[in-house]
Symmetry: C2
Subunit: 231 residues, 2 copies
DNA sequence: AAGTGTGAACAAGTTCACAGCC
DNA sequence: GGCTGTGAACTTGTTCACACTT
């Protein structure tokens, strides 16, 4: 949301040696790639051989120039006069985004929300394996959720050090959010998806995303209010 | 995410008549206001009388200049040499964001996710009233969730026309997402929070936000991959 | 002395437009 | 002829820095 006071390399312009990727690619570009990938995966499933930046843009509501520029940060994947090979580009994006590996995920906080997250069908299909779940409530610990036995959150630190994971999803009550995140980070987790309404802090280098529906609702009501007034 | 081809008025510079707000304020500014508001609500609860842009920025990880500039789109709420009255600024933000009214919300799709949303404690407390829930599954219809009887989705259109609502939250299976959204929009709903992994389309003037955790995970793995490679 | 409000300078991000290739 | 890749032009968003107010 805000660039922290860490100096960044200027972007490397022009052609690069093969199999190399520039050091600094704008985050806003990275955030669009999963969107592109999702569409390409669909086209791939439909056996579409080739697609142009214009067609991609049409479907996604993005300008063709932006798609071409975004992709050009990573290489020259298209063919002039023809477009992009769907299979090739999908493969490249999988490689760029790291979707050609499986990633280990833990979910902490198995209340109603955590349960819904844990059984969200989109994760496993996209290479994210929920390898463990944790809760503090004795009524929940040791029960089975979606084929996994919930463990006590007191075991989290020890478990993580024995069996490292890549991503932590936090759905605990707000008052435990920061502690939970600290435990995760100190035990070596580098990416956290925070479902609590608290803006937790992490040290530099740890990826953090917030999912807070209330903030969305509150920005929508700003616009709703104007619509109402304008009539 | 992308500015559609609708011409915008140039921003009105300088001082404005009182009780007036410029026509065009960047969306990125609107999206930050709920963040500011959340902190101010906390300070208000702590009976903090005054706060400076510097203190706000410190807490939120935003520059003080940005906070001052953002607020200055709406008025001159601060006092030089002193800062902002917490109560006053909180009140102004409530008014700007429309949080001084209650908003009617329906949830469509009462599976595991919909259920978690419907019982999310943050909504009611912030002025969002879930006035109805809908599902297509006969095993779910007519059951009670969080004090509300689930109605059949076939009644959605008629219900909306009889009792208009402000916001629709969509948590149906992906294949029904677009139809559900169309029903909502045609029945006069102007804001939609979409939890399905499908990028639904709405006509101009309808506010739409997507919550898709997979896209977040996929942008985080990009960064995770680099961390792993760098060691 | 402290801290706002805001033009002006700067930085980041997007779109244009066209050379080059298929 | 059609479409990519990419510098350059442009637009949008952020930060600076200081006149002004309390």
């Amino acid at each position: 949301m805000v660039s922290l006071p860490s100096e960044r390399e200027p972007p490397i312009a022009g052609r690069r040696p093969p199999n190399t990727v520039p050091i600094d690619i704008p985050d806003v570009v990275i955030d669009r790639l999963p969107l592109y990938y999702r569409l390409l995966a669909r086209l791939e499933a439909e056996n579409r051989p080739v697609v142009s930046s214009h067609e991609l843009g049409e479907e996604l509501g993005v300008t063709p120039a932006q798609i071409r520029k975004d992709l050009s940060y990573f290489g020259r994947f298209g063919k002039q006069g023809r477009g992009y090979s769907v299979a090739r580009l999908a493969e490249e994006l999988r490689s760029i985004l790291g979707l050609d590996t499986r990633w280990k995920v833990v979910v902490i906080g198995i209340g109603r929300l955590g349960r819904a997250i844990a059984s969200y069908p989109g994760f496993e299909g996209q290479g994210f394996d929920i390898v463990a779940m944790y809760d503090a409530n004795p009524a929940v610990v040791s029960t089975e959720v979606d084929g996994t036995i919930v463990r006590h959150v007191d075991q989290l630190d020890e478990d993580l050090r024995r069996h490292p994971v890549d991503i932590g999803i936090v759905a605990v009550p707000a008052e435990f959010a920061q502690d939970t995140v600290d435990t995760l980070v100190q035990a070596g987790v580098h990416a956290i998806l925070n479902y609590t309404p608290l803006r937790v802090q992490v040290r530099d280098g740890v990826e953090l995303r917030h999912i807070n529906p209330v903030l969305f609702l509150q920005s929508m009501t700003y616009h709703l209010k104007r619509v109402k007034n304008d009539r």
